[in-house]
Amino acid sequence: MVNILNIDLTMVDWARAQFALTAIYHWLFVPLTLGLAVIMGIMETIYYRTGSEFWKKTAKFWQRLFGINFAMGVATGLILEFEFGTNWSNYSYLVGDIFGAPLAVEGIVAFFLESTFVAVMFFGWKKVSKGFHLASTWLTGLGATISAWWILVANSWMQHPVGQEFNPDTMRNEMTSFADVALSPVAVDKFVHTVLSAWVLGAVFVVGVSAWYLLKKRHTEFATKSLRVGAVFGLLATLLLMLSGHHSAYTVAQTQPMKLAAMEALYKGGTDQPLTIIAGINPFQQPNYEAADEPPLKIAVPYALSLLATNDIHGYVPGIRDIIDGYTKADGTRELPLDEKIERGKEAIAALQEFRKAKAEGADEATLNSKLSTLNSSMPFFGYGYVDNSAQVVPYIPVCFYSFRIMVGGGCLFVLLFMLIIFWLYKKDVSRARWLLWASLLCIPISYIVSEAGWLVAEFGRQPWTIQDMLPTWVGVSQLGASTVMLTFFLFLILFTTLLAVEIRIMCKTIKKGPQL
């Protein structure tokens, strides 16, 4: 059938690399925007209620850091939106009918809210009333959060496509239910988990910067009060994050079992599955999941994976080999083996080709219906028609495995950090716990690594699919030369890295200068 050798796979890799680069950079800035938005909103609310100049200046200081960070988030976000068209043009056509809508809603509903009120927030201190300014600060954060909602709706649809059907006349997927797309359980989970993770990062940032002032014995009142707001907010966000993480894992198990299997390096599944804490997986090589039953040096918590994935300690969790060979799901239905899915996918492609040909030749209704019937029965496997072998459908396990552990481990670390800070703030003198202050400072870079790890789990685990089970990456790309995309990759790499260096230095200088109290 379709010969994937016609596609320049090197170009596919560069297109993926460019999108990943942009998304990684974008995700360096967005979480801080989302997290700081709430924290500075809380601080300005205290100012509004108390009239205290101290809180006004405190809020203004964090807003200054917010502003430095905000511009880079906006800039990288612009590139991301248009890269769907520039690098993934086939994808844009095949699912644009569904995927474009959340992006348009994001622009109309969220971006304008954010961009309008961010200007009032920065420039309106002496121009608008206290109430209007406070509303602007919260509306800026709300705009950023609504924006996250819609982009995560779009992303969740790629993880778990719902509310659409394929139209053989237009040769694309078309939306049948906006509510199914916008309120999909995967989208709700992803939004809650992602935004909470951003709040945690914002809290760690505030805690870390405040700790630095205490270490330097500067602005101690400002630092102690910021530390209190950051730690309490951070602890609440982290606890909620853990709850949402459990729910997300359950959803992943139901909708993307291969992703869960890769996250766990679960080669051969079964009932009563333990959750791996750590195992000896070579980070630079795809493990031999065909030969081994489990990775070496595995330390695990009994039954925990079954509980996480099925809400039942005896629940069945499929491993990579089970997914390739086929298995029986909890509801008794049979998940087809990969070979059969590939065959059905090729049938769907052939039926679609025959339908198009018959229609062009003016075939009668009965003939067309017969082709359509074949197409519809095999359509759920359409994407598999472009797959040749099992190695293509298994994500790169080491990245998924280690990223997942970094993400979960980081979450646990932050709970501990926030609890310790709150303890020292209320029971002792936190400025004397220098080890804790240093740990808080160190947690700033760690929080970024943890945050990026979460993104890597979500996106690497989806591979090789642009849209889960529907469209592999090599069918979603634009027709470009590998050298063209490689060149823009390096241009963006140089540009983003230079700007990141400038931003970090400006941030450090601004922090060093401190709040103007």
Binding site: N6, I68, M175, A501
Partner: protein
């Protein structure tokens, strides 16, 4: 609401967003003049701060334009962005530079120095309007692409539906002189709007503005009129890309855009209104030193004129994104739009637009009650 109505409606919304984007490129226009309007560091900073309070609107409108085009005409999105890769990449690159240049340039610790970022603003001020104008011109002049839906199931070819027909990936658009002509017209229009915005926003005492803007305003006006009228004359006399709704066939029709204007006479009236407003606003600003509303009058004229020009490329059975490589690959509202369901759903979302516009106006007025002064730059939040 019929499918045809929704296709026309979304074409209108996208064209309106594009028209607003052209108006909002006053930010780019003023930035391209940073070094000629601002004669010292303080004056340059004043100009940067004047446009710096509005750059987000331009940026957001660009993003929303992209999102709305994607949602309503996904085949255009995939064909144009995936095909004219280099053209769009250069545009995007320049906008990234703009986004950070405001925030970073006067901050302590800026590794690259203030002037570097000001020159990046100038670069965006030139490339943004020039290339976006050139890209818009291709709606009249055509682009070098091929669309073949059957590729997705053809075992003998790549399963990619649309692609550029040569290796230039969009740079060939810059070889068509008419694309350059419209690009230059948009560039000089942006400079006109930029001059008028500075006149409107910055405290008189600071720049002695009217005297300062008069020269670039005159030169930009003359050049804008030359390029714009040449382009208008060209499109009203050239063959256009027509579409037969009965057969779906696309064909060349002499004087197609002139016919469109005459057959959709309200658009002709609007075009005249738009052009008159632009000319009136410019001329009155040139002759009345104390009159500062030129920015709004010319801005309104710009939105109306650009809106009409864009609607001419799509309404009245016209192929809005013509292919010079394969005429039948040309995109029309009918063959490239989203499904009726998606367009209808998005229609309901678009009812929020008046509400969005209302709060933008409210916030804009709140921020712009007074002109920008040196005192504000020194003692309040400033770039």
């Amino acid at each position: 609401m019929t499918y045809a109505f929704l296709q026309h409606y979304w074409c209108f919304v996208v064209a309106l967003l594009a028209a607003l984007l052209v108006f909002l490129m006053f930010v780019q226009g003023a930035n391209s003049l940073i070094f000629s309007l601002g004669r010292n560091a303080d004056e340059r900073r004043l100009i940067v701060n004047a446009t710096g309070r509005k750059w987000e609107f331009t940026f957001t409108t660009l993003v929303t334009f992209g999102g709305a085009f994607f949602a309503s005409y996904p085949l255009f999105y995939s064909t144009s962005f995936g095909g004219a890769y280099w053209l769009w990449m250069i545009i995007l690159f320049s906008f990234v530079l703009q986004a950070v240049s405001y925030e970073f340039q006067n901050k302590m610790g800026n590794l690259l120095g203030t002037k570097t970022f000001q020159w990046l603003l100038v670069l965006n001020g030139i490339l943004g309007p020039l290339l976006l104008g050139g890209a818009v011109a291709t709606f009249f002049t055509g682009s070098n692409f091929i669309v073949e839906r059957n590729n997705i199931v053809d075992p003998l070819t790549t399963p990619i539906i649309s692609h550029w027909a040569n290796a230039s990936h969009g740079l060939d658009a810059l070889l068509n002189p008419w694309n350059i002509v419209l690009g230059l017209a948009v560039f000089f229009l942006a400079r006109i709007l930029g001059c008028l915005y500075i006149h409107n926003r910055v405290d008189d005492k600071l720049l002695d503005k009217h005297d300062r803007i008069i020269r670039p305003l005159w030169s930009s006006t003359i050049l804008f009129l030359g390029f714009f009228l040449a382009f208008l004359g060209h499109i009203l006399t050239c063959d256009g890309y027509a579409y037969d709704p009965a057969t779906g066939v696309i064909f060349m029709e002499p004087y197609k855009y002139l016919h469109n204007l005459l057959e959709m006479w309200p658009l002709l009236g609007l075009l005249l209104v738009g052009v008159v407003l632009v000319l009136f606003g410019i001329l009155r600003s040139l002759t009345r030193k104390e009159w500062k509303r030129g920015f709004w009058i010319v801005g309104l004229g710009t939105v109306i004129t650009v809106l009409v020009l864009l609607l001419l490329t799509a309404w009245n059975n016209t192929a809005y994104y013509p292919s010079t490589a394969d005429l039948q690959s040309s995109l029309t509202m009918q063959n490239s739009s989203s499904s009726e369901f998606t367009l209808r759903t998005m229609f309901y979302v678009s009812l929020l637009i008046p509400f969005v516009l209302a709060y933008i106006v409210y916030a804009w007025r709140a921020i712009d009650k007074k002109q920008i002064t040196q005192d504000e730059i020194n003692n309040d939040h400033a770039y």
